[in-house]
Amino acid sequence: MYKIVRKKSLNKTVTQMEIEAPLVARKGKPGQFIILRVDSEGERIPLTIAGTNPKEGTVKIIFQVVGGTTTKLNNKNEGEFIEDFVGPLGRATHTEGIQKVCIVGGGVGCAIAMPVAEEFHRLGASVTSIVGFRDENLVILEDEFKACSDKLIIMTDDGSYGRHGNVTVPLKEMLEAGEQFDMIITIGPLIMMKFVTLTAQPFGVPVTASMNPIMIDGTGMCGGCRLTLHRDGERITKFACVDGPEFNAYEIDFDEAMSRGRMYADFERHSYEETCNLFKKA
């Protein structure tokens, strides 16, 4: 059992928790993830590590309430416990030799992008952050990004906060203006990451995308998280849990990943509705 030490709502549907898990806190690095189960009958879900406090032995996670499991998790309070918490899994963000980085985050993906930006900042790299949200009410982690970015651009789809438009707009402007980045790291919805990649392509800037596919064990056993990379005309199957979660974005088959991500869309909607009804009744 793992204690919820702190809980904080970041917006209507996004929650931050700090979980007591000393072994994970000691080892966890930006870019890695954990897998948790809320209760003894629950499913295993992967969540990226949003920060660690090795001294206190806690790990920060940020999640959006989208399905049955995240609803159950969100209904847990400070001081309560969750059943299982395992990690750190996957490989840490590659930081070596990168002096100027552009972090492009979207929605709840910004929760994953933020510790990556912090890590680059800590290592002395110049950090440009472009973060996008649907509207003003969904903006999260603004102060955190401000603290670790040399330049921060906030975008909203409806223009209710920051600049109006997609994250690709300022990215394109900067690249066109001759801005040089050693690496663009994009974390968020697949469709956004696909277009960030397409935007960067003509400029020849390396792009890394952080994938968050469906997973069970997270240790390379089930193969559910597999994705296809296109390299030199060949199709290569990779497992996001052990080979990733970060990959060279130019090689990723985003369309396939989007399709696979919707495998249980019906089931999830159903489970979300059922769980909501349960909590409403209670």
């Binding site: 295993r44 069970i216 199957t237």
Partner: protein
């Protein structure tokens, strides 16, 4: 008294009933059946059966206890050699091991050793409630990586000698393949849990949610004071065929399909874990895992289940009993067939059609057996122009695994072979001092009992090593 030429039949659930439930297929002997079957044993002096057992259970001795009606005595006799009798009695391929060496088998059917072992273990679990006596601690600490058959066996053998043993398990439940892989109807999870509890009563500590190679490394285990480490991390990454369409929705590895159903209990209506149910299912492969996947698919409500295997029934590597059970339950064996492509739905009018990207069929070719290969197995060859389409909704790839790199990548000096299996000597010692390994992590996918054999061998080697240092 004339010897009954046949083994006592194992009572089972009727095929048409069991194909729709997840309860155990084989129901087990009654006391009368067990005693009567035990009486078929000739009690041969040279004990050929024992040499056929990877953990060398004292078979004639335990059978002798059954003859006398002393079932607990029989259990204690088995326990001297095996830590998981209720498991082995169910999943061991006895027909190629102990029973294949049985003297009776020359003329008649061999003694049903596996069925007797299962009976004894079940009798003990039902009738004996007191815990085994905790051995006197010897002050030495050993870490075991993985709580599957090799890890549990190694842990049990060392605990009985007084070692302070901690088992690290990556998943949330102990048991490894016994809980994520082998289905409920073949090995009920309560039985695995009971065997694990017995080990805990011997003093074995089990730490779930710890991935060695990630949460902790092998080197850190030594820093923590462990004097030896046994790696029983099991088989690893599932293999795919590298044919087009394997990323479509509805294509699973057998590991994923079985893990969803077994470990995550997706077969239950109230489970939070989704799985594709119903429709037509093709399982590609011919091993025990393929049989488990096919029979699981049936029980999840599939209207039709195929086994697609590229050789003939004769070469099919699964246990005969599993194949027979699958056939009785209605699994359709498409033999000498091989998939070349998986096809999916695509609505040309509507890219957002929710049906897009789901499997609709599998294109296969027919095969014939050609010349034997270097291993003597006849190589399947494609019959030109034999392509056909098999209409399916779900495809389960059950064609093996390759070793997991997590431990190798984080343990300096741990040598692996070209396939990624950890290299060990005959005692289970790896290229690193005080680090032992066994089971699928060494051999690649094999049986539960061979993994147990390796765990037992390593336990003995660890004991020799720590006692002499």
């Amino acid at each position: 008294m004339a010897i009954n030429p046949k083994k006592h039949e194992m009572p089972t659930q009727a095929p048409d009933v069991r194909a729709h439930n997840f309860q155990e297929v084989a129901l087990g002997y009654t006391s009368e059946m067990a005693v009567s079957e035990a009486e078929r044993c000739l009690n041969c002096k040279n004990q050929p059966c024992v040499s056929g057992c990877p953990v060398n259970i004292h078979i004639p001795e335990f059978i002798d206890y059954i003859k006398k009606g002393d079932f607990e005595g029989a259990y204690q006799e088995i326990s001297k050699s095996s830590s998981l009798p209720a498991v082995c009695g169910r999943v061991c391929p006895q027909e190629t091991q102990c029973e294949s060496k049985c003297t009776l088998g020359v003329k008649f059917e061999p003694v049903g050793i596996g069925r007797l072992e299962r009976f004894v273990a079940d009798w003990h679990n039902e009738n004996v409630t007191e815990n085994p006596v905790k051995p006197v601690p010897n002050g030495h600490r050993v870490a075991v990586v993985g709580s599957g058959p090799s890890g549990l066996t190694c842990a049990g053998a060392l605990a009985k000698k007084g070692y302070d043993v901690t088992v690290y398990e990556a998943l949330h439940t102990a048991g490894g393949v016994l809980v994520y892989g082998i289905p409920e109807f073949r090995l009920p999870k309560t039985i695995v849990a009971k065997e694990v509890d017995t080990l805990k009563a011997l003093g074995v500590r089990i730490e779930t949610n710890v991935v060695i190679g990630k949460t902790l490394t092998v080197d850190e285990l030594f820093e923590m004071g462990f004097e030896a480490v046994f790696i029983g991390s099991g088989a690893g990454l599932p293999s795919f065929m590298n044919i087009p369409g394997e990323s479509l929705k509805g294509v699973y590895s057998a590991n994923e399909f079985l893990t969803r159903s077994n470990l995550m209990k997706a077969y239950r209506e109230d489970s939070d874990t989704p799985i594709m149910k119903g429709g037509k299912v093709a399982v590609v492969g011919g091993g025990n895992v393929a049989m488990d996947a096919a029979r699981t698919a049936l029980r999840l409500g599939a209207e039709k289940v195929y086994i697609v295997y590229r050789r003939s029934m004769e070469e099919l590597p699964a246990r005969r009993e599993e194949v027979e059970h699958a056939e009785e339950e209605g699994v359709d064996f498409q033999l000498l067939r091989n998939p070349v492509e998986i096809l999916g739905f695509q609505n040309p009018e509507d890219p957002r059609d929710p049906r897009n990207g789901f499997v609709t069929s599998m294109r296969c070719v027919k095969m014939e057996l050609g010349e034997p290969d270097e291993k003597g197995r006849r190589k399947p060859v494609v019959i030109p122009g034999s392509e056909y389409e098999l209409e399916v909704d779900t495809v389960v790839m059950s064609i093996g695994t390759s070793p997991n790199p997590l431990i190798k990548d984080t343990t300096n000096g741990l040598e692996v072979n070209a396939r990624g299996g950890i290299i060990v000597n005959e005692e289970g010692l790896t290229s690193r001092e005080s680090v032992y390994a066994g089971g699928d992590a060494v051999t690649g996918a094999a049986t539960v009992i061979s993994a147990m054999g390796a765990g037992k061998t390593a336990a003995k080697a660890i004991d020799d090593y720590l006692m002499n240092n």
